[in-house]
Symmetry: C2
Subunit: 368 residues, 2 copies
Amino acid sequence: MTASDLQTVAIELADRSYHIAIRGSLLDNPLSYAQLPKSAAALIVTNTTVGPLYAPQLEKALAAHYGKVFTVVLPDGEAFKTWESLNLIFDALLRHGCDRKTTLFALGGGVVGDMTGFAAASYMRGVPFVQVPTTLLAQVDSSVGGKTAINHPLGKNMIGAFYQPLKVVCDLDTLKSLPQRELSAGLAEVIKYGPIADMDFLAWLEGNLEAVLAREPVALAHIVKRSCEIKAWVVGQDERESGLRAILNFGHTFGHAIEAGLGFGAWLHGEAVGCGMVMAAQLSARLGLVDAFFVHRLSTLITKAGLPVRAPRLSETDNAGRYLELMRVDKKSEAGEIKFVLIDKPGSACVRSAPDAVVRQVIDACCA
Amino acid sequence: MTASDLQTVAIELADRSYHIAIRGSLLDNPLSYAQLPKSAAALIVTNTTVGPLYAPQLEKALAAHYGKVFTVVLPDGEAFKTWESLNLIFDALLRHGCDRKTTLFALGGGVVGDMTGFAAASYMRGVPFVQVPTTLLAQVDSSVGGKTAINHPLGKNMIGAFYQPLKVVCDLDTLKSLPQRELSAGLAEVIKYGPIADMDFLAWLEGNLEAVLAREPVALAHIVKRSCEIKAWVVGQDERESGLRAILNFGHTFGHAIEAGLGFGAWLHGEAVGCGMVMAAQLSARLGLVDAFFVHRLSTLITKAGLPVRAPRLSETDNAGRYLELMRVDKKSEAGEIKFVLIDKPGSACVRSAPDAVVRQVIDACCA
């Protein structure tokens, strides 16, 4: 594999199947969009950070294909993943008289992708959309699999839809402009695929993390492609998360509690997931599923990726109780019982509950 | 058929298939819900008008089946079919810690059904829901077919989802408490099925309208069942409105313009559709598709049903222009061209555009 090869990953979902294209110099290339259905208008949704960097190039590349190309710029950050921001997209669509064939383009990270996807799912009960993810996190996770959502003050991603894009265009060049903290946050979701599905990939990451952090094109292409392949394999078997798909949430139950408890946006999503994976691995160990060496190995890799492994305190009076309270609102919970994604052996995950007392021990140990 | 027979209509949509049950004494009967999947909690969504009449009975009937039954009461009326009302449902779900197996029950008319359906489609990316429509309009139209939505200040039903209920329970006894104006509004959608699909049904209505207006149980059972059958036939062929299904919008293009132009809630939806059908029939006649006798026959039946057939003026300066402007926002529009549902011969409908000049003539004639 060289950096100039176009990599593609197929997501097989019957009449909702699509392809992920991975390479540099894709975003500004009209050929990236040439096979999409024609329509009178396209709307690019981006944010105040990414828009100035890439929106003009995308507008130009789309101009050949659509009669009119509009752009709406949202405020940047998880804190703005709200109904108010979503409504800015609806306002733009209606103000421009966009019909139900209008194609939406999500240009940005996971927040832009999730909101654009939900807007596309809901506008006139569904219009087509394309993901153009510009962060590592979005390229390896949120742009694949069709989960779209906004946050509610009482819970993250509580309002949304399963809705698949027509195509995902991962331009690796956009990762060059990514702040180091965002690159690290994206690596949390990359590392995740090791313990839940592919220990060879984990070993590869241990051996090549420096090349990844130095953003060597071949290393980036490999982690994006392998992550998308594993996610595609899981999502292809369970599109609507009735079973297997939940393993993709490894680290997310604790992670969501951290995000909600600190206020969305204080920690990046990937930072919370990185720390959450260490907590979930420790819980797996305390339940006798994996050994201490596995936890140490994962924790070391997460630390080297530039991510926190020590959990924040969420309450001065009953810290573990606050974690438990926040985790009960998780979408995987059933009848108030928290479902954790645990590692039952390295490279394999399961979903199960755990005694509150053991969960408290893990929280106390990780917050110490 | 007697009034005590349970009527059922099957909606065949692969793994989203469901049944409509039609009879009196269904709402308060636990057997109506006995075959639904069990879950820890159910949430009844109703409004300030219907809630006091029927919510206690429904709560009691559901108590045997669900661990907890909660009720949320929304303000009544099309003017409240907004994000703010929708959010009251999400608030209730999250406040009660409802999980993704929680079943939502829509108890009320079309507005409650549309909002509850969209809340069910979106909460945690989809929870099950059941329609318990208490108006004629909802029983014959909005509870069947899976269209859910809220309004946007710039357009009606602009934000929503296609999402099917687990079951529809049409309790004919609820129609006894319906104000006469609401009964008439519901009849607009009943009459609609004649010109687009079944002229025998139109003839039956002409001969039995008095029995319907007197709310004779056998007459009500017949119109609800026949309307649902025709709608089921259409929706079964085109769930997501890529073609045929659009004929169900006969009268709705002009009707939506009336509703939007007067402000949502000034005219009832069915009143706007009744008048809109006369306008669409006149447009069909001016385009040479049907004769004046057909227009007269339809207009007479609509008048006898207690519905307006004269259109309101929406602008003092350019009335027809205002109609055209509002109709261009319609979801059926493509690239700014208005698509009308027209009658190409009695009992058959088509979707096509029409010259602005002819549409203006129709508006001028109907507003005169």
